[in-house]
């Protein structure tokens, strides 16, 4: 048990920053990102305790869990909220969502973050995993449940869409 705790402690240290960032970029809220990231690690830790050998690639397992929890979050939100608020655009631009301090407020960063928020889920995930987290195409395709070729095409379209949103 102590060994498992030590191993998972290292997994936590190695991945918490990236998982938090991935979630934050998907939900645009510090508090929600913290909640979902905590839940992600709690779920993976529960699985790890039962069957550590079943988690051959902790990074992929964490990303998949986080991705599913983000989807659950939006589903739950949709149930309580039949339509997006009318001021959706304004809400994205609200300075209150710039919760990471001055760095996040830097214009390049803010622009790209807001533009990303307008992309569909797969496009956002693909861009984050490939260009922000530097995952190889093979791993991105695994996370997206697509072939490597299909992933390359999707990435190309995602970048084109992002460029359009930015301009």
């Amino acid at each position: 048990m102590e060994k498992a705790r030590e191993q998972f402690g290292r997994i936590y240290d190695d991945h918490v920053e990236k998982i938090y960032r991935f979630v934050f970029l998907r939900v645009n809220s510090k508090e929600i990102a913290q909640d979902i990231t905590s839940e992600t690690f709690a779920k993976v830790w529960a699985s790890f305790q039962k069957q550590p050998e079943a988690i051959a690639n902790p990074r992929a397992f964490l990303y998949k869990t986080a991705k599913n929890l983000v989807v659950d979050h939006y589903r739950a939100k949709a149930k309580n909220q039949t339509a997006l608020p009318e001021n959706w655009e304004d809400r994205l631009a609200d300075p209150k969502i710039d919760l990471e301090g001055k760095a996040v407020l830097a214009s390049d960063m803010d622009n790209v973050r807001r533009a990303m928020a307008h992309l569909n889920e797969d496009y956002q995930n693909a861009i984050i995993w490939r260009y922000l987290d530097d995952l190889p195409i093979k791993e991105v395709s695994h996370l997206l449940d697509r072939s490597e070729d299909a992933t390359r095409v999707l990435l190309h379209r995602a970048m084109k869409e992002l460029r359009t949103k930015l301009s």
Binding site: V16, R21, S38, V104, D108, M109, Y131
Partner: protein, 254 residues
Amino acid sequence: MNSEKELINQIRTLSNIKPDENWVVSCKARLLGQEAMGQRSSFMVWLKNFAFQYRAALAALVLVLGAGGGLAAAAQNALPGEPLYAVKKAAEKGMALVAGQKDDPMANLQLAAKRLEEMNLLSQKNLVKNLPAAFYEYKTAKAAAKKEVAALVKDNPAKAGQIIKEAGIAMKEIDIKEKQVYGVLGLDAEATTTDDGGEAVFDKAIVESLMDYFKDAAALSEQGSFDLAEVKKIYEAGEYGRAVDYYLNSSLNR
């Protein structure tokens, strides 16, 4: 706009998004308990054990050489994670040996309180990165103190009540302070004191000694009998830490 490369560079600015450091530490503590906070690599543990004798000698040397200088004084104010902290701890050990307090539970409880205060100072100074080391130091000191109390009670059953009464006051103060410090750090005190790290063993031994002591003690008052029954009930439920807490707050400890 933008070539592919420029666009990718712009995306990479998002890597500046980082979680709050305090949250990272407290989330890990909630998830894995304080054992993980104080986690050290086995190499570090080995190194620590191996170097103990040399550290003690070094500390003595440093204190002698540094008399009148600032180093010894600086070491006294060192906090976990800081370079001079090892010197401070080794000096404490040396002084305990000289004063014959090595196995004195009260001295060890005072040491645990000191470790807790260090944790408090670190949180006040926002030195989050040093908190895992402080957790480790505090947990170790507290467990050592409890172990001493349990051993002393076992060796002196006739004085069990008196020993625990004296130690109980210090333990109670530590628990109150611990709750305050954990509160500041946003930690769940219950979650961070789960008893798989060995503390339960000491708590169990203390409660067993207590029950033995009161079994042979003169007739208890009505309230005393009720409190003793409650301690037994909590003990039988396997909540040894809570049984000690109950005893400390009950009529049995007056």
